[in-house]
Amino acid sequence: MRLLIQDLLCAAAERHAEATAVIDGEHELSYAELDERSSRLAGLMTDRGVKPGDRVGLALEKSLEAVIAIYATLKAGATYVPLDDHAPVHRLAYIARDAGIRCLVSSEAAASVCEGLLAEGVELQSVIGADARTGQAQGPEWIPWSTVESFQTAATAPRPLDPSALAYILYTSGSTGEPKGVMLSHANGLAFASWAADEVGVTAEDRLSSHAPFHFDLSTFDLFAAAAGAAAVVLVPRELSIFPVMLTKFIAEQAISVWYSVPSALIALVLRGELEQTPLPALRVVIFAGEVFPAKYLARLVEVLPLPRYLNFYGPTETNVCTWYEVPPGAALLEDLPIGRPLPDVGAEILREDGSPAAEGELGELVISGPTVMHGYWNDAERTARTLHVDGDQRRYRTGDLVRRRVDGELLFAGRRDDQIKTRGYRVELGEVETVLNAIEVVLEAAVIAVPNEAITNRLKAFVVSSAPITSGQLSRLCRERLPSHMIPDEIEFRSELPKSSTGKVDRRALQ
């Protein structure tokens, strides 16, 4: 019985010790090595004061070490909090403080992120994976990887026995101007990963892509479904994901058999990846999630690559993947793709505004219950209470997504009931971008809208009333200090005033 996520790794290491677990360019780890090295790091973490329930920050590029750090944190009984090493340091400092991170795993390449956090006043006890910075007599203990490798521990790390212990906290856009931490337990992660590994039929022969960054919940499939089947996970270098032809070649050369990404990455392959000229015989399953896949691009993808299974996974970070849909072979992809049916043991209700069940085919809010649903937002009981209803072991989450049920039972996504939008597979609260714009001194008023775009779902367009001359470039720069790149307005238009509704609020609809 698998109770904890790391049990997947331990089982793989027992049954398939020599099977490749992770591939990063020239470097590889077998399951035995990943198990051994993550135990070593877990031992070191425990030795340096990491206790069960503590949050350990991951501030390093995607690498073998990052995967080791994830399992090590879990083995130490702690909760991993992946930090986007390309996000502004101000945002990361907020997350580090909010999550109460005292121990960071980093690397020489990403050590500047740790220095940035320290400069922002984040109090750290230890930074693992990087040499001590010069001129810093005070502050955290810096522990290089060489120390980790030679660390000998007699005592095994304490093992949390409760599957409801938090395994990871993923921070996502929050409407009030700061990101919010979604708390996910071992049981949450396992419910999804075990189901997905079964449904996809992951085995030790498979090679899974790892395209999404680790702070994005898609990565939990790549890592944990791979471990569930003792498959290899191939880390996709960022540079390759930028150049479509190179990415196609990478998929071919690495013999990727299971691909998982946001649709926009696949659309880039359809448009510019020369898929027609590159046979991909190993590719047997293509999974996408995070945003709506426009039917015309999906149709072209299926036409060029007719052999793989195509799976549409749906679910906000708060519920993991909670519904899924398999594109029927040979289907005419003319209309919207369903988000499908719930996973086993997952409940999906469609409710009206007043909480009563929607009638057949009627639009309503999707409410998800079951083992994949989060435990709430970290440090924010009030926000949690607004969307999560807890009754004993039962957790019901109001997704804010509007859906309807088709006659054949498949669910169709039909938009949001609030101002959350999707762009490039990321979700963005328009209010968070507006809050950042409004905080800029010369900005009198700002509104942000989503302009639909086929390739990236939405572009962000800001309308700004300023009290002094400022260029859109200057405003973008100021936003960049506070927001990750996918949240920076793609376009900024200056207005002398903004349209208002009868209640005096900015009328976003009048700006569309």
């Binding site: 930028i242 150049f243 926009s264 990455a265 880039a268 990846g273 020369e274 990236i456 470039g473 960049r480």
Partner: protein, 85 residues
Amino acid sequence: MTQTAERIRDFLIEEAHWDGTRAELTDELALIETHVIDSMLLLRLVAWLEAEYSISIGDADIVPSNFGSLERISGLVDAKLEQAR
């Protein structure tokens, strides 16, 4: 510094939310490593170059050796313009 490079610099400053000064966006700056260009901007840049210069950029041209720096992008454009002549 070519005129082509100047126009592409304008595009990047406007579209890539370049957060340094204009002088810091040098011809040699590594655009991928410094995250000036991401996957979405790259495809927009290609579409803009094709429209702006009436050139056709093949899928196989979209590689780091042609898009790694301003110098390389303008080199690609100049070569395409030369071919068309």
